[in-house]
């Protein structure tokens, strides 16, 4: 055991495994291809790993939940719990099984990886952090007395690659703990793919904690609130149009932050994220068109082709009064309210 420098977390177990991509292979074969073992805590580069371990719960932003397999069971969750507080033999066995599970889930066109599992305790709390460092070529340079020496390393693993992945789970030994965790996936930065399916669905046997219905409804609510706080007509229109665009991207996996960065005018992004809250802005979900249609509905009426009145459907009739006249096809329209913005444009 190693007592951390600030005595906050005591690191209790570390395992490292080379994990080749083995999707589609037989499990027995995969087990033989995964190599590695427990690493004594005092032999890990703690000035690299300890800060990663410590900051994991703050920096890994996407909440996930284990998928129940049979009632309340989940094989990966069981293994994570065994790694967290099993005896040495159980921990090493569980860590190896996790490595095999990752190899089996990894698509054949992906690179091998270094799986590192690090656990720690803090009073009754246990934390398990899992990292995958993808294989990468590297050069090592050394200045020697006889001159510079450059060596090509084919067995290096990268912490900077976009294929780097991480997961953290934390809780007590309660039966109900470790049902959720957080992940980090540098593929999130691509904005088109918030995380790799094989890491969450395949390896961790999990799903985003936020359901698609919950996320889509939240998106609609935050967007409506953002429109309410926006006074410029151009920006309002851009926000309404953004909803129109995203509605038709059924099954697009997104977070509120990715939506803001991709679809909203720059001036509106901070407002949108402030309304959503940082804590929820990175949770991912798939767009459900039906939910957006239900929760985000704007009614527009055009008068004589040039004049438009637009507003939220559920408030429209409160503000806009439309009456028949005694002239055919002619309506009388009246509104009462504050003018919050006026715009003159050359079209």
């Amino acid at each position: 055991m190693m007592i951390s420098p600030n005595q906050e977390w005591i690191l209790t177990f570390c395992g490292g495994y080379i994990v080749p991509p083995c999707r589609g292979m037989e499990l027995a074969e995969v087990t033989n291809l995964v190599v590695g073992s427990q690493i004594p805590i005092d032999q890990i580069p703690d000035n690299y790993f300890y800060p990663l371990f410590l900051n994991s719960t703050n920096e890994y932003l996407v909440d996930i939940a284990f998928t129940p397999e049979n009632g309340q069971q989940n094989t990966v969750r069981t293994l994570v719990r065994e790694v967290a507080w099993g005896d040495d033999g159980q921990r090493e066995n569980a860590a190896h099984q996790l490595a095999v599970s990752l190899a089996w889930a990894t698509l054949s066109h992906l690179r091998s990886g270094l799986l590192v599992i690090l656990t720690g305790t803090n009073n009754e709390n246990h934390r398990v952090v899992i990292w995958k460092f993808p294989a990468d070529n590297a050069l090592r340079a050394q200045v020697r007395r006889e001159g510079m020496n450059i060596e090509f390393l084919s067995n290096a693993f990268s912490s900077e690659s976009k294929y780097w992945k991480a997961a953290v789970f934390e809780g007590t030994q309660a039966d109900t703990s470790f049902w959720e965790g957080k992940i980090s996936d540098d593929q999130m930065k691509s904005k088109t793919k918030p995380y790799a399916d094989y890491w969450v669905f395949g390896f961790l046997n999990s799903r985003p904690r936020m359901t698609n219905v919950e996320g889509s409804r939240l998106l609609a609510k935050v967007l409506k609130d953002t429109i309410g706080k926006t006074y410029l007509i151009d920006q309002k229109e851009a926000l309404i149009n953004a909803a129109g665009v995203i509605k038709h991207q059924q099954d697009t996996r997104i977070s509120l932050r990715i939506f803001a960065d991709t679809y909203l005018p720059e001036e509106s992004r901070d407002v949108f994220i402030n309304i959503a809250g940082d804590e929820i802005a990175d949770d991912v979900f798939d767009i459900e068109e039906e939910v957006l249609n239900r929760e985000f509905r704007y009614k527009s009426i055009f008068i004589e082709e040039d004049f438009m009145i637009r507003g939220p459907l559920d408030e429209f009739d409160d503000f806009v009064n439309i009456r028949d006249t005694n002239r055919e096809n002619i309506k009388s329209i009246s509104m009462e309210g504050r003018i919050t913005s006026e715009d003159i444009r050359i079209r």
Partner: protein, 209 residues
Amino acid sequence: MNEELYKEYESRRGILSDVLHEVEERLKISLENTPRIDQISTRVKTTDKFIEKAARNIEGTEKDKYKFPLEEILDQMGARIVVYYLDDVEPVSKVILKEFREIEDERKEPPEVDQFGYIARHFICFIHKEIEIKYRPPICFFELQISTLFQHAWAEANHNLGYKSTEDLEDDDKRKIAWAAAQSWGADKIFEELWGKYGKPKTNNNGSK
């Protein structure tokens, strides 16, 4: 009684109640277009019942069932949906699974096929993250039961008898309770059949009603 545990649970009931109120609102909205729902109700477990449950032993042993009762007792926040017919359980379940992320999805029924007793569909679900951020409750899941009118009637009548364990019952009484459960099972089957025959909207061969 564990005084500390009592106080700790008592102190959390207010927040749990606020959270559950929002959960109930969400359940009602999400199910407003789902037909044949008799009731949607929620409750926070009373402190006395929580302490009673926390004190339970693992069956047949002297060992505590719950090492961390404040985390492990799953029905501190409970919701119940009662539907008319057996056929109505699945559509409600589908809505629930779209709305909430589940930790557990289980059909509770007697262990043997020739036994009669408690039957219901049980979920343990995460509360929505928005609610969790708003209230910061000490637990973030609730239990949801879906049962038919007859399953619910039997369960409520049985529960209110007040016995703590079936070991307290005489053999004849156990048979009577099982007999009553069999009647509710039978009533569900009969009404399922009748509903299919007379009540269910028919579709034509071309799929229209």
